[in-house]
């Protein structure tokens, strides 16, 4: 039997458990991609329920539906496209007032909304009782109470969706009225819009257009101005805005927001939300919040948390890597190479064995031991709510380099792999900050580069020197960020961020988030790494590097004081960063670097590798996010920085320390 198809979309504010509901609904069937032509993530999945095939789209989490951010525009365009039979508005019962702010706007869009009232347990623990039936009556749509983390309410939600689609439950969303003066303007405007802009009314609800015009929404203003008679309407809007601003003495966006909050505070909240008791004096979440945002102790806690993570991952990961390399290098590789060298001629078989399989195995031995656990822990920190605290603590510092607290997470992601870090730059609201951050994340030593740092400096000179390199790295990033902030046109934007309560993370959600980030590495980075590895091996087999050394020697030997052949591992590190170490040993003809390089050369080499061009996969990610021109600019900047840093190190070590 053919199943009936239903399309639904989840809309809601950030931190309301929307993705938990999404995961509960669609399980493993989800596909995560981008919205067409946008750098905003789009998650889609399917649920088979009885005779229904329900297609679920997870809209970006937004506080509002203005055109403040790309996310908000995407969410509302999608809702206006009327592709969904039902829009499920996920609402945080413990922060009902602010959440209804979005609900009211969804109603203005005349969308077929039902409400999923999530986090009922949290509301209860805060002493808040909500009259669900009354809320449903006032809104005129079904309200399903839920505790998504335990799965409570999911079944009812799905049944309600089906009831709505089958017409067993009618939606009669209440049209909430604004205050008298504003309401007058809205209805006059929507009358004129109906009369003079009929061509727009087939696509947009006239009342919504009127509200958005009054709010000064740029996108809607543009749409209206570009239609016939549109300018007459916008002139009228200007008159109305002037009048309202005069009456209220506020700017118009404040007036409209106030009115919306007024609707909620007057018509909805008093009848549905009851504070039963004051919240228990200090919950665990409050105490955790107190210490982790403490003006003094917050910082040592932060440092401790991240040092512990890095230490655990690089010691634990090291052990894990040894196990893996035992399996692959000691057992699997000899077996593979035996088979392949039996079939292919010598040079070609070397390329396939070292290039293709070597690259494949390297991807695994980096991703499994380092990237996977790192992103798992980071996702846990995020889902508990620690990351906003980190953003809070780091904000002042980030402002020095033209960013704000939220930029800290992508920088952290960079220590795993630069690819997800590049994609993570999306958290910045504006283009300027996004670009600035992209310049900086590629300078963060990813796990492959960390392997090189530990493998050369950590191994031959001492662990403390390796740590010093990380410190130098941070200093350079700060200086570069500071300079960029001065150079880029425009001014930095400030931090405005919700501080959600601490919450117990849900394993499933954490695992999914981890997977999405690791996937960026496996899908996007590894094919390029393997391809790069094949190219590299080909060049090696064709014995081309003496030529290269000849041309690179003025720079490499003259400026950096390194043996000319080290140009090879430096340049081809672009293809595979972690190979820089192995290649170095290869070109120098010794696996004991002590015999072929002095301490100064090791430090200079490592510093150059640390900053040098991001790997090919990162460049590809950069191109996708920022476009060709900027990706090239970003890559060039890393070359300049790495050479400069290497040169300065060389001079300092030679003249100050006499090395």
């Amino acid at each position: 039997m053919v199943k009936k198809r239903i399309n639904i979309a989840l809309a809601g504010q950030p931190n309301v458990g929307k993705s938990v509901i999404f995961n509960n609904l669609v399980g493993g069937s989800q596909i995560v991609g981008n919205w067409p032509g946008k750098t905003v993530e789009k998650a889609e999945g399917k649920l088979i329920y009885g005779n229904y095939e329900i297609n679920v789209i997870d809209l970006p989490g937004t506080y509002s539906l203005s055109s403040y951010s790309e996310e908000e525009v995407i969410a509302r365009e999608y809702i206006l496209s009327r592709e969904s039979d039902v829009i499920v508005n996920v609402v945080d019962a413990s922060v009902l007032e602010r959440n209804l702010y979005l609900t009211v706007q969804l109603f203005e869009l005349e969308a077929p909304v039902i409400v999923a009232l999530n986090l009922m347990d949290v509301a209860q623990s805060k002493g808040i009782r909500i009259d669900v039936d009354e809320l449903s009556r006032i809104l005129g749509v079904p309200v399903v109470p839920m505790v998504a983390v335990t799965g409570r309410g999911i079944d009812v939600l799905v049944k309600t969706i089906i009831d709505v689609v089958e017409g067993r439950v009618k939606l009669s969303p209440t049209q909430f009225k604004y205050g008298k003066e504003v309401e007058e303007k809205i209805s006059t405007l929507s009358e004129y819009i109906k009369r003079y802009l009929p061509q727009l009314c087939s696509k947009y609800p006239p009342r919504w257009l009127a509200i958005k015009l009054l709010e000064g929404d740029e996108n809607v203003l543009k749409i209206v101005e570009n239609s016939e008679n549109g300018k007459i309407i916008t002139l009228l809007v200007q008159e109305f805005v002037d009048e309202l601003e005069r009456i209220h003495g506020e700017n118009i966006s404040s007036i409209i927001s106030s009115e919306r909050y007024g609707i909620i505070g007057r018509d909805i909240l008093p009848k549905v939300q009851f504070i039963e008791r004051e919240p228990i004096s200090r919950t665990f979440s409050d105490k955790l919040n107190y210490w982790t945002t403490h003006p003094i102790l917050g910082y040592p806690i932060l440092i401790l948390v991240f040092l512990t993570i890095f230490y655990a991952i690089f010691t634990g990961g090291g052990l894990f890597e040894e196990v893996l390399s035992y399996i692959f290098d000691e057992n699997l590789m000899p077996w593979i190479s035996e088979i392949i060298s039996g079939i292919l001629p010598e040079t070609l078989s070397e390329i396939v064995i070292n290039g293709f399989f070597g690259g494949l195995i390297a991807t695994l031995t980096i991703s499994l031991p380092y990237i996977l656990p790192f992103y798992f822990i980071l996702s846990v920190l995020e889902d508990t709510g620690y990351m906003p605290r980190v953003a809070y603590l780091m904000d002042a510092f980030m402002h020095r380099i033209g960013l704000h607290g939220k930029a800290f997470l992508p920088l952290m992601l960079g220590y795993g792999c630069n690819v997800p870090a590049c994609l993570g730059c999306r958290v910045m609201e504006r283009d300027r900050e996004k670009l600035l951050l992209s310049f900086l994340v590629v300078l963060i030593p990813c796990s492959a580069r960390i392997v090189v740092i530990l493998g050369i400096v950590g191994e031959y000179i001492g662990f403390i020197y390796a740590l010093m390199l990380f410190l130098i790295n941070i200093i350079v990033i700060v200086l570069f960020g500071y300079a960029l902030n001065k150079l880029l046109p425009g001014c930095p934007v400030g931090l405005i961020m919700e501080m959600p309560d601490y919450r117990k993370p849900v394993l499933r959600a954490v695992l999914l988030k981890t997977w999405h980030r690791v996937k960026d590495f496996i899908y996007d980075a590894s094919p390029l790494i393997v391809a790069g590895s094949v190219i590299l091996e080909t060049i090696y087999q064709l014995n081309m590097f003496p030529l290269l050394s000849y041309y690179a020697s003025p720079l490499i030997s003259g400026l950096l004081g390194l043996p000319a052949v080290t140009a090879f591992p430096l340049i081809f590190g672009v293809l595979r960063k972690e190979l820089a170490l192995i290649l170095l040993q290869k070109v120098l003809g010794s696996s004991d670097l002590n015999l072929v390089l002095n301490v100064k050369q090791m430090l200079v080499f490592t510093i150059v590798v640390m900053f040098f061009i991001p790997c090919i996969a990162t460049i590809a990610a950069c191109v996708r996010e920022e476009g060709w021109k900027r990706a090239i600019l970003i890559s060039l900047s890393t070359i300049v920085i790495s050479i400069l840093a290497g040169w300065v190190t060389n001079i300092v070590l030679t003249f100050l320390f006499g090395l």
Binding site: Y63, E97, Y192, N229, L235, R246, G405, M499
Partner: protein, 207 residues
Amino acid sequence: MGYDSSLIEMLMPKILETIYSISISGGMVTLDEVSKRLGVPTSFLEDVLKLAREKGLVSSDSLNLTDSGREFILRYRQAFIHDKLIHGRHGVSSLYSDSMSEHLKYDHNLSDEDLKSLRSFLSKFDGNIDEAEPLTNLRRGERGIFIYAVGGHGMLRRLSDLGLTPGIELEVVSIASLGGPIVVKVRGYEIALGRGVASRIYVKRLR
């Protein structure tokens, strides 16, 4: 197509003002020119002019304003500036918003010089209006009423979307050291505001 008479009446001052602006800047006042400036069809302008002529604000044989037309415009402007700047509760702050400056400059022929002197005049009252002071003045645990914020459209909208609307009570929950953000509790939840943002939020301290 005939236009609604109340629509015509509501927009007449704006149209006349544009005509006035063109004429005092020495330009040739034609229907096309006005239509180009405002982007409205000439058929609509004709309807407006018809009404204006009936009221004796525009001379019957040309596009020139009559004496009472000029007086009408000046009163219109005066009322606007008066209301906006003196009675506007956001007072001088609004002069710093780009949209307002544009508005004053282009729609009301205020020059940069005028704007500057207006600002310096009104700045004497800034901060005294409604006893507002920057949020950064409040200490941890202190409460205040949000009065207004100064900033670009994006920032203002973000703040009001998050529930920081004029008249709402807020409490300073924590203040990060080293010039970091300020966390305020508003409507039962917490929002972190960068120090720069916080310094442009004006509140009335509650004691």
